[in-house]
Protein backbone atom coordinates (compact mmCIF):
# COMPACT_ATOMS: atom_id res chain seq x y z
CA UNK A 1 0.00 0.00 0.00
CA UNK A 2 1.32 3.45 -0.87
CA UNK A 3 -0.01 6.96 -1.35
CA UNK A 4 0.34 9.78 -3.91
CA UNK A 5 -1.08 13.14 -4.93
CA UNK A 6 -0.55 15.71 -7.66
CA UNK A 7 1.99 18.10 -6.16
CA UNK A 8 2.92 20.65 -8.81
CA UNK A 9 2.40 22.11 -12.25
CA UNK A 10 5.74 22.98 -13.82
CA UNK A 11 6.09 25.48 -16.64
CA UNK A 12 9.25 24.13 -18.28
CA UNK A 13 10.89 26.87 -20.31
CA UNK A 14 14.05 27.02 -22.42
CA UNK A 15 16.75 28.42 -20.14
CA UNK A 16 17.33 31.66 -22.07
CA UNK A 17 13.65 32.62 -21.70
CA UNK A 18 12.96 31.35 -18.19
CA UNK A 19 13.38 34.68 -16.36
CA UNK A 20 11.15 36.45 -18.88
CA UNK A 21 8.56 33.67 -18.64
CA UNK A 22 8.51 33.89 -14.84
CA UNK A 23 8.00 37.65 -15.07
CA UNK A 24 5.09 37.13 -17.46
CA UNK A 25 3.34 34.46 -15.38
CA UNK A 26 3.83 36.43 -12.19
CA UNK A 27 2.13 39.48 -13.71
CA UNK A 28 -0.45 37.45 -15.65
CA UNK A 29 -1.64 35.58 -12.55
CA UNK A 30 -1.04 38.41 -10.09
CA UNK A 31 1.32 36.47 -7.83
CA UNK A 32 4.85 36.97 -6.58
CA UNK A 33 7.87 34.95 -7.68
CA UNK A 34 9.97 32.99 -5.19
CA UNK A 35 13.45 31.90 -6.24
CA UNK A 36 14.43 28.53 -4.77
CA UNK A 37 17.95 29.16 -3.38
CA UNK A 38 19.21 25.58 -3.54
CA UNK A 39 17.63 24.92 -6.94
CA UNK A 40 18.27 27.93 -9.17
CA UNK A 41 16.51 26.33 -12.16
CA UNK A 42 13.14 26.85 -10.39
CA UNK A 43 11.29 30.14 -9.98
CA UNK A 44 8.21 29.60 -7.81
CA UNK A 45 4.92 31.35 -8.59
CA UNK A 46 3.56 31.78 -5.08
CA UNK A 47 -0.03 30.48 -4.70
CA UNK A 48 -0.70 30.79 -8.43
CA UNK A 49 -3.03 27.77 -8.40
CA UNK A 50 -5.13 26.48 -5.50
CA UNK A 51 -3.41 23.64 -3.68
CA UNK A 52 -0.73 23.08 -6.33
CA UNK A 53 2.84 24.29 -6.29
CA UNK A 54 3.43 26.21 -9.52
CA UNK A 55 6.85 27.12 -10.87
CA UNK A 56 8.77 28.00 -13.99
CA UNK A 57 11.61 25.53 -14.51
CA UNK A 58 14.50 26.36 -16.84
CA UNK A 59 15.11 23.36 -19.10
CA UNK A 60 17.38 22.49 -21.96
CA UNK A 61 14.43 21.47 -24.13
CA UNK A 62 11.31 22.77 -25.89
CA UNK A 63 8.70 24.61 -23.80
CA UNK A 64 6.19 22.32 -22.10
CA UNK A 65 4.10 22.04 -18.98
CA UNK A 66 4.37 18.93 -16.81
CA UNK A 67 2.71 17.56 -13.67
CA UNK A 68 4.61 16.31 -10.60
CA UNK A 69 3.15 13.49 -8.54
CA UNK A 70 4.56 13.13 -5.02
CA UNK A 71 4.48 9.79 -3.26
CA UNK A 72 5.68 7.98 -0.16
CA UNK A 73 6.95 5.13 -2.40
CA UNK A 74 8.51 6.21 -5.69
CA UNK A 75 9.13 2.69 -7.05
CA UNK A 76 5.59 1.53 -6.23
CA UNK A 77 3.96 4.65 -7.71
CA UNK A 78 6.13 4.39 -10.82
CA UNK A 79 5.18 0.71 -11.21
CA UNK A 80 1.48 1.59 -10.81
CA UNK A 81 1.66 4.24 -13.55
CA UNK A 82 3.68 1.99 -15.87
CA UNK A 83 1.06 -0.74 -15.41
CA UNK A 84 -1.58 1.81 -16.48
CA UNK A 85 0.28 2.40 -19.74
CA UNK A 86 2.86 5.12 -19.04
CA UNK A 87 6.41 4.64 -20.34
CA UNK A 88 9.61 5.63 -18.56
CA UNK A 89 11.59 8.46 -20.18
CA UNK A 90 14.44 8.97 -17.71
CA UNK A 91 15.50 9.33 -14.12
CA UNK A 92 16.71 12.56 -12.52
CA UNK A 93 18.00 12.31 -8.94
CA UNK A 94 15.16 10.59 -7.07
CA UNK A 95 12.56 11.53 -9.71
CA UNK A 96 11.21 9.21 -12.36
CA UNK A 97 10.12 10.94 -15.54
CA UNK A 98 7.26 9.20 -17.36
CA UNK A 99 5.27 9.78 -20.52
CA UNK A 100 1.52 9.18 -20.26
CA UNK A 101 -0.48 7.52 -23.04
CA UNK A 102 -1.23 10.44 -25.35
CA UNK A 103 2.25 11.89 -24.95
CA UNK A 104 2.29 14.08 -21.80
CA UNK A 105 5.14 14.21 -19.31
CA UNK A 106 4.73 13.59 -15.61
CA UNK A 107 7.30 13.12 -12.86
CA UNK A 108 7.08 10.89 -9.82
CA UNK A 109 9.01 12.21 -6.83
CA UNK A 110 9.31 11.71 -3.06
CA UNK A 111 6.92 13.70 -0.83
CA UNK A 112 7.71 17.42 -0.99
CA UNK A 113 4.63 18.84 0.76
CA UNK A 114 4.40 19.34 4.51
CA UNK A 115 3.49 15.95 6.06
CA UNK A 116 0.05 17.14 7.18
CA UNK A 117 -0.83 18.27 3.63
CA UNK A 118 0.25 14.94 2.18
CA UNK A 119 -1.56 13.00 4.92
CA UNK A 120 -4.80 14.91 4.33
CA UNK A 121 -4.81 14.93 0.53
CA UNK A 122 -2.96 11.92 -0.87
CA UNK A 123 -4.87 8.98 -2.29
CA UNK A 124 -4.14 5.46 -1.13
CA UNK A 125 -3.39 2.71 -3.66
CA UNK A 126 -3.32 -0.93 -2.77
Amino acid sequence: MHRSRVYALLIDTPEAEAARAAEFWSAALGVSTRPVPAEPQFIGLHEALPGLVTAVQAVDDAPRYHLDIETDDVPAETARLLALGATEVSQWLECRILRAPGGHLLCVLPVESPPEVFAAQARTWS
Copy 2:
Protein backbone atom coordinates in the same frame (compact mmCIF):
# COMPACT_ATOMS: atom_id res chain seq x y z
CA MET B 1 -11.84 47.24 -14.67
CA HIS B 2 -12.26 43.52 -15.35
CA ARG B 3 -11.66 40.22 -13.60
CA SER B 4 -10.08 36.85 -14.41
CA ARG B 5 -8.96 33.56 -12.86
CA VAL B 6 -7.30 30.34 -13.97
CA TYR B 7 -10.21 28.06 -14.81
CA ALA B 8 -8.82 24.83 -16.23
CA LEU B 9 -5.86 22.65 -17.06
CA LEU B 10 -6.39 20.95 -20.41
CA ILE B 11 -4.53 17.81 -21.42
CA ASP B 12 -4.58 18.27 -25.21
CA THR B 13 -4.11 14.91 -26.87
CA PRO B 14 -3.98 13.80 -30.50
CA GLU B 15 -7.49 12.63 -31.37
CA ALA B 16 -6.61 8.98 -31.98
CA GLU B 17 -5.16 8.65 -28.46
CA ALA B 18 -7.59 10.84 -26.51
CA ALA B 19 -9.82 8.04 -25.19
CA ARG B 20 -6.80 6.03 -24.06
CA ALA B 21 -5.28 9.13 -22.44
CA ALA B 22 -8.50 9.87 -20.54
CA GLU B 23 -8.57 6.28 -19.30
CA PHE B 24 -4.97 6.58 -18.10
CA TRP B 25 -5.44 9.92 -16.31
CA SER B 26 -8.67 8.74 -14.71
CA ALA B 27 -6.93 5.69 -13.24
CA ALA B 28 -3.68 7.51 -12.48
CA LEU B 29 -5.42 10.24 -10.46
CA GLY B 30 -8.20 8.04 -9.10
CA VAL B 31 -11.06 10.13 -10.49
CA SER B 32 -14.00 9.45 -12.76
CA THR B 33 -14.35 10.69 -16.34
CA ARG B 34 -17.26 12.89 -17.39
CA PRO B 35 -18.03 13.18 -21.11
CA VAL B 36 -19.29 16.65 -22.07
CA PRO B 37 -22.37 15.88 -24.23
CA ALA B 38 -22.38 19.12 -26.25
CA GLU B 39 -18.60 19.13 -26.69
CA PRO B 40 -17.47 15.60 -27.55
CA GLN B 41 -13.82 16.63 -27.89
CA PHE B 42 -13.64 17.05 -24.07
CA ILE B 43 -13.49 14.26 -21.50
CA GLY B 44 -13.66 15.75 -18.00
CA LEU B 45 -11.55 14.34 -15.16
CA HIS B 46 -13.87 14.98 -12.22
CA GLU B 47 -12.16 16.83 -9.34
CA ALA B 48 -8.70 15.71 -10.47
CA LEU B 49 -7.10 18.94 -9.24
CA PRO B 50 -8.28 21.20 -6.41
CA GLY B 51 -10.30 24.14 -7.71
CA LEU B 52 -9.37 23.62 -11.36
CA VAL B 53 -11.42 21.96 -14.06
CA THR B 54 -9.27 19.24 -15.61
CA ALA B 55 -10.03 17.55 -18.92
CA VAL B 56 -8.51 15.67 -21.81
CA GLN B 57 -9.19 17.51 -25.06
CA ALA B 58 -8.83 15.73 -28.42
CA VAL B 59 -6.81 17.98 -30.74
CA ASP B 60 -5.44 17.79 -34.24
CA ASP B 61 -1.94 18.66 -33.02
CA ALA B 62 0.97 17.41 -30.92
CA PRO B 63 0.28 16.54 -27.25
CA ARG B 64 0.49 19.49 -24.88
CA TYR B 65 -1.04 20.83 -21.71
CA HIS B 66 -2.58 24.31 -21.67
CA LEU B 67 -4.18 26.62 -19.12
CA ASP B 68 -7.57 28.31 -19.58
CA ILE B 69 -8.15 31.73 -18.06
CA GLU B 70 -11.81 32.74 -17.67
CA THR B 71 -12.78 36.39 -17.60
CA ASP B 72 -15.76 38.74 -17.59
CA ASP B 73 -14.12 40.74 -20.43
CA VAL B 74 -12.30 38.67 -23.07
CA PRO B 75 -10.97 41.62 -25.11
CA ALA B 76 -9.67 43.43 -22.00
CA GLU B 77 -8.02 40.31 -20.55
CA THR B 78 -6.49 39.48 -23.93
CA ALA B 79 -5.14 43.03 -24.22
CA ARG B 80 -3.69 42.80 -20.70
CA LEU B 81 -1.84 39.57 -21.49
CA LEU B 82 -0.61 40.87 -24.86
CA ALA B 83 0.75 43.97 -23.09
CA LEU B 84 2.65 41.64 -20.73
CA GLY B 85 4.35 40.01 -23.72
CA ALA B 86 2.05 37.20 -24.89
CA THR B 87 1.37 36.85 -28.62
CA GLU B 88 -1.92 35.87 -30.24
CA VAL B 89 -1.98 32.49 -31.97
CA SER B 90 -5.61 32.21 -33.09
CA GLN B 91 -9.23 32.60 -32.17
CA TRP B 92 -11.68 29.72 -31.65
CA LEU B 93 -15.32 30.64 -31.09
CA GLU B 94 -15.19 33.16 -28.22
CA CYS B 95 -11.76 31.99 -27.07
CA ARG B 96 -8.48 33.75 -27.76
CA ILE B 97 -5.48 31.46 -27.91
CA LEU B 98 -2.23 33.08 -26.79
CA ARG B 99 1.38 32.02 -26.46
CA ALA B 100 3.20 33.20 -23.33
CA PRO B 101 6.81 34.40 -23.38
CA GLY B 102 8.72 31.12 -23.11
CA GLY B 103 6.39 29.34 -25.50
CA HIS B 104 3.40 28.01 -23.50
CA LEU B 105 -0.21 28.10 -24.70
CA LEU B 106 -3.02 29.66 -22.75
CA CYS B 107 -6.60 30.43 -23.72
CA VAL B 108 -8.75 33.35 -22.64
CA LEU B 109 -12.45 32.54 -22.53
CA PRO B 110 -15.71 33.90 -21.10
CA VAL B 111 -16.64 32.92 -17.54
CA GLU B 112 -17.47 29.18 -17.35
CA SER B 113 -17.54 28.70 -13.57
CA PRO B 114 -20.65 29.19 -11.46
CA PRO B 115 -21.02 32.95 -10.80
CA GLU B 116 -20.33 32.56 -7.06
CA VAL B 117 -17.05 30.73 -7.73
CA PHE B 118 -15.91 33.40 -10.16
CA ALA B 119 -17.00 36.19 -7.80
CA ALA B 120 -15.09 34.68 -4.88
CA GLN B 121 -11.90 33.71 -6.68
CA ALA B 122 -11.25 36.00 -9.64
CA ARG B 123 -8.64 38.73 -9.43
CA THR B 124 -9.50 42.29 -10.38
CA TRP B 125 -7.37 44.19 -12.91
CA SER B 126 -7.63 47.91 -13.43
